[in-house]
């Protein structure tokens, strides 16, 4: 048998027609980079969400029964329904133009105009913290499922510190936040320490600690000294005014927590990229063996990292109690820890990405409320949208196939020499 291989490639062509900046920009935009995939995942989720809206509405479906006779009826009804649903979602998340014009011509107030944005930021603030917690741990190679439990403990310690101590303003708030961070840090340090010492997998231990934290909270709010003496149901005393995160009041629920959240994002970004600890975290996350060989204490890094991640989640819980709830109930932490997982995933475990992802989730939640009351579409649709976005992000190949994205390499984003 004779086999001959001839591969021919032209030598590097001289750039006779140099590409314009815009051309390069467009080409890179349409290559499979993570920003494009994320944006397209959201688009896909919105499209599927629209289909679900149509399918779940009996009136519109009835029009599809005579689709072949008069297709315009069904299509118009579908379009109207989806359009109004999504426009309510947007209005509820970012603001209603009518409210703004009412403010300008004196029939409304500026508070009403800004209320939607305020709601978005209010929902987003705790998610930023829990998202950062998950993202930071993930960069160190740890999957912090325990953000929920750490947030719950943060709620407890911040809430108790908020109503138990009679401290002057500013100090009371700082002490309560500090307690929230410490509580979460402790709840994160346990699994980190166990992992470092015994190799116990953090996913298992943090899931168990989530239950522990939630049950502890349910028990605690009924204890005397914690439970509100004027109430018989499961609710704690209200935190002192001095310990509350300052807000505008009235319809504007947004509070100082969102400012702290942005500061925390900047802090985590600095920690990861510019600090010695962040270097250790990234090295241990990418290759623990090489890190160990270079003298980095891998076990120590795991324990420290989980404590810092726990502190962030604890601050998320503290923000929830001191900024919006003001009192402990068994469900005060809601789902902020688990949503933090999704936020970190959507933000690609990057600090600023996580911030934007949390804002998006906050906007969906705020807009969902208006969509439910105006268009009558269940709030659960928002959860479906969030889940769809995450599914598409988790399956980038699907998005790339649907939109026929080019591989990033072909677009010249990175050059990987062949192994020879």
């Amino acid at each position: 048998m004779t086999a001959a291989a001839t591969t021919e490639k032209k030598p590097d062509e001289q750039p006779a027609d140099r590409e314009t900046f815009f051309g390069v920009f467009l080409r890179n935009l349409w290559s499979a980079n993570s920003v494009t995939v994320t944006a397209l995942s959201i688009v896909l989720a919105v499209i599927i969400g629209g289909l679900l809206i149509i399918v779940s509405d009996a009136d519109v479906l009835a029009k599809f029964a005579y689709f072949t006779a008069r297709p315009s009826d069904a299509l118009t009804a579908s379009g109207d329904l989806v359009g109004s649903a999504y426009s309510d979602l947007l209005k509820g998340a970012f603001g209603d133009p009518e409210a703004f014009s009412a403010w300008f011509n004196g029939t409304g107030t500026w508070q009403e105009a800004f209320a939607p944005i305020s709601e978005t930021l209010t929902y987003a603030a705790p998610l930023v913290f829990t998202g950062l917690s998950v993202a930071l741990a993930f960069r160190g190679g740890l999957f912090n499922i325990g953000a929920q439990g750490q947030a719950v403990i943060g709620c407890i310690t911040a809430g108790v510190a908020g109503f138990a101590f009679g401290l002057p303003p500013v100090i009371a708030l700082l002490v309560a936040l500090l307690f929230g961070a410490l509580g979460g840090a402790l709840w994160g340090f346990f699994p980190g320490y166990l992992k470092a010492r015994t190799g116990a997998h953090e996913v298992i231990t943090t899931i168990m600690l989530n239950y522990t934290a939630t049950l502890l909270l349910s028990w605690l709010v009924l204890q005397s000294g914690v439970q509100d003496p004027n109430r018989t149901d499961a609710i704690s005393k209200t935190v002192h005014e001095a310990a509350k995160l300052p807000s505008f009041g009235g319809v504007l629920r947004v509070h100082l927590g969102i400012v702290f959240a942005v500061a925390a994002t900047a802090g985590v970004a600095w920690l990861l990229n510019r600090s010695a600890f962040g270097f250790e975290v990234r090295a241990v996350g990418a290759n623990p063996h090489a890190a160990k060989t270079a003298g980095i204490g891998v076990a120590r890094t795991y324990a420290m990292l989980m404590a810092v991640a726990g502190a962030l989640a604890g601050l998320g819980g503290a923000t929830q109690v001191l900024g919006t709830a003001y009192a402990l109930t068994p469900s005060v932490a809601g789902n902020i820890g688990f949503d933090g997982l999704l936020v970190a995933l959507l933000g690609r475990n990057k600090p600023w990405g996580t911030l934007f992802a949390a804002l998006l989730f906050g906007a969906l939640r705020a807009g969902g409320n208006r969509m439910q009351s105006y268009t009558g579409i269940s709030l659960e649709l928002v959860t479906v949208l969030q889940a769809l976005i995450v599914i598409f992000i988790a399956a980038p190949a699907l998005v790339k196939a649907i939109f026929r994205l080019r591989a990033a390499r072909a677009a010249g984003l990175s050059v990987t020499p062949a192994k020879g």
Partner: protein, 493 residues
């Protein structure tokens, strides 16, 4: 561009060696021939018939098989299952059950026909590397291929296994099969090849016959004259720097790996440890570096015990360390070249302190060291994982040699590294010795140990059998490595 207008022809029954440095484009070329990559231009002609391979399936159908550098086997499957994988015989329709008996019979037949003993019922994960490779070859042969591509087949083999492989290659060609043998090892090429094509930077730079000298082949490969001998002056040993006495350590499975080793490494000399891989060399070095628990015995650096120190303290005490498994322990592939260069010094001035990094300083120092150690990378920010093996190793060498050292430990310093980089790394090791550093070199390549060392310690089953001069005849060293002392040398340590 990995391949630039390459033409090669393989005749029936010949071993055609494709010789080139890491990153020269050898694997890329062969991946095109095997249908894993599509050429942008040009064509593949099999038996005078132009072919287009969309996938390995097409290539196999045309009679081309490939054994990859990293084996494509399922560790928990048996040999027969692995060989059947992808071409399973099924009884009772498309959803029927696997015909295991037939798979087993096919394996035995092929293995007998070509003289390649494999046990069809053994689990692949239990087999040594050489046997796994035989499984890969048998797998290709059961597909009835006429042309077999072997991608760096000897990189993972011990010297004995290499000999066996070369014998297998000879018998295959006698049966009329053609073999493309990809490698950068000159000795093997000379031993087996009928024709040699040398590739450099994606282009063919020459063809040679097997009687070309190694120096000429190396020069063709690298593009300049290369010294294959380590060039060094006689050592001037000084004080005892590293003193190991009665060291005992276990391997990962808890089996005794180092069993009472006494060694002394003096300033200004290279002590080489020779031995077949797996005789405790790895564990010995890891114990010295604080990466493995010391069960008994002492390790002293200039009289100071290393036993109580952690790895960071040992590194800071003036010990440089090149780990044997570069991609596992040496570099963080996702990190940039600059970050890898400070992997052990990131929290020390001038690169930073316990709190923050000085990224500007890290970057500027990286530029200096990239120039000094001739690391070929686009920018200091390039991820190390994208560099060739030789350049990754240079990053490790540059990192470990950039601080004042008392002891330098190099474990397999040139494994998977191309000829040009080997010369450079060997030069750096001798340079370090001449600065008065004590150097400990561990290598499974006897040539390397003998070339670098001033004294050679031979390890066998966790013990140092003898310490001999590097001028000791090869046969004697070979016997020592096999554990045969012949009743002398025992007292020389």
């Amino acid at each position: 561009m990995a391949n630039d207008h390459i033409d090669i022809t393989v005749e029936p029954g010949e071993v055609h060696a494709l010789l080139g440095e890491n990153g020269a484009g050898k694997s890329t070329l062969m991946n095109q021939l095997y249908g894993l990559l599509q050429p942008d231009e040009g064509q593949i002609v099999v038996d005078d018939e132009p072919k287009v391979f969309r996938s390995p399936r097409d290539a196999i159908a045309a009679g081309i098989g490939m054994v990859h550098q990293h084996f494509m086997l399922v560790p928990v499957f048996t040999v027969a299952e692995n060989i059947a994988l992808g071409a399973e015989e099924v009884r009772g329709g498309p959803l029927g059950w696997l015909d295991r008996r037939r798979a087993r019979r096919d394996v035995l037949e092929t293995s007998k026909k070509f003289g390649l003993p494999v046990d069809p019922d053994a689990l692949v994960e239990d087999l040594p590397v050489g046997a796994q490779q035989r499984v890969e070859i048998v797998k290709a042969l059961t597909r009835d291929v006429d042309l077999l591509i072997l991608d760096e087949p000897t990189a993972v083999l011990t010297p004995q296994e290499t000999e066996e492989l070369l014998a297998v290659m000879r018998s295959l060609t006698e049966m009329g099969k053609s073999i493309v043998f990809i490698t950068h090892k000159l000795k093997e090429v000379k031993a087996i090849a009928d024709r040699i094509t040398v590739v450099r930077r994606g282009a063919i730079v020459g063809t040679a016959s097997p009687d070309t000298s190694e120096e000429e082949l190396a020069a063709l490969m690298v593009g300049r004259a290369v010294s294959l001998e380590v060039d060094k002056a006689p050592a001037e040993p000084g004080r005892d720097v590293l003193k190991i006495s009665g060291l005992v350590a276990d391997d990962d499975r808890g089996v005794r790996a180092v069993d009472g080793v006494d060694l002394v490494v003096r300033a200004g000399e290279v002590l080489g440890i020779a031995g077949v891989q797996g005789n405790g060399q790895t564990e010995l070095v890891e114990a010295v570096m604080g990466l493995r628990e010391v069960r008994a015995g002492t390790i002293e650096l200039d009289g100071e015990s290393l036993g109580a120190m952690n790895t960071k303290q040992i590194l800071r005490a003036g010990v440089g360390y090149i780990p044997e498994d570069r991609s596992h322990d040496g570099v963080v592939k996702e990190f940039s070249v600059a970050e890898n260069l400070v992997l052990d010094m990131y929290d020390r001035e001038p690169f930073g302190n316990a709190f923050r990094l000085n990224t500007a300083k890290v970057a500027s120092s990286a530029k200096e060291r990239i120039a000094q150690f001739d690391i070929r990378c686009q920018t200091p920010e390039t991820p190390v994982g994208t560099l060739s093996g030789g350049n990754q190793q240079k990053v490790v060498v540059a990192r470990e040699m950039s601080r004042p050292l008392r002891l330098f430990i190099a474990s397999q310093p040139t494994r998977g590294v191309d000829v040009g980089s080997i010369e450079f790394i060997h030069g750096q090791i001798i340079h370090e010795r001449d600065q008065g550093t004590a150097v400990l070199v561990v290598s499974s390549e006897l040539d390397e140990v003998v070339g670098l060392a001033d004294r050679v310690a031979v390890m066998y089953r966790g013990r140092v059998l003898a310490i001999v001069s590097p001028d000791t005849p090869r046969e004697e060293l070979g016997l020592l490595m096999a554990g045969i002392t012949g009743g002398r040398n025992e007292e020389k340590k």
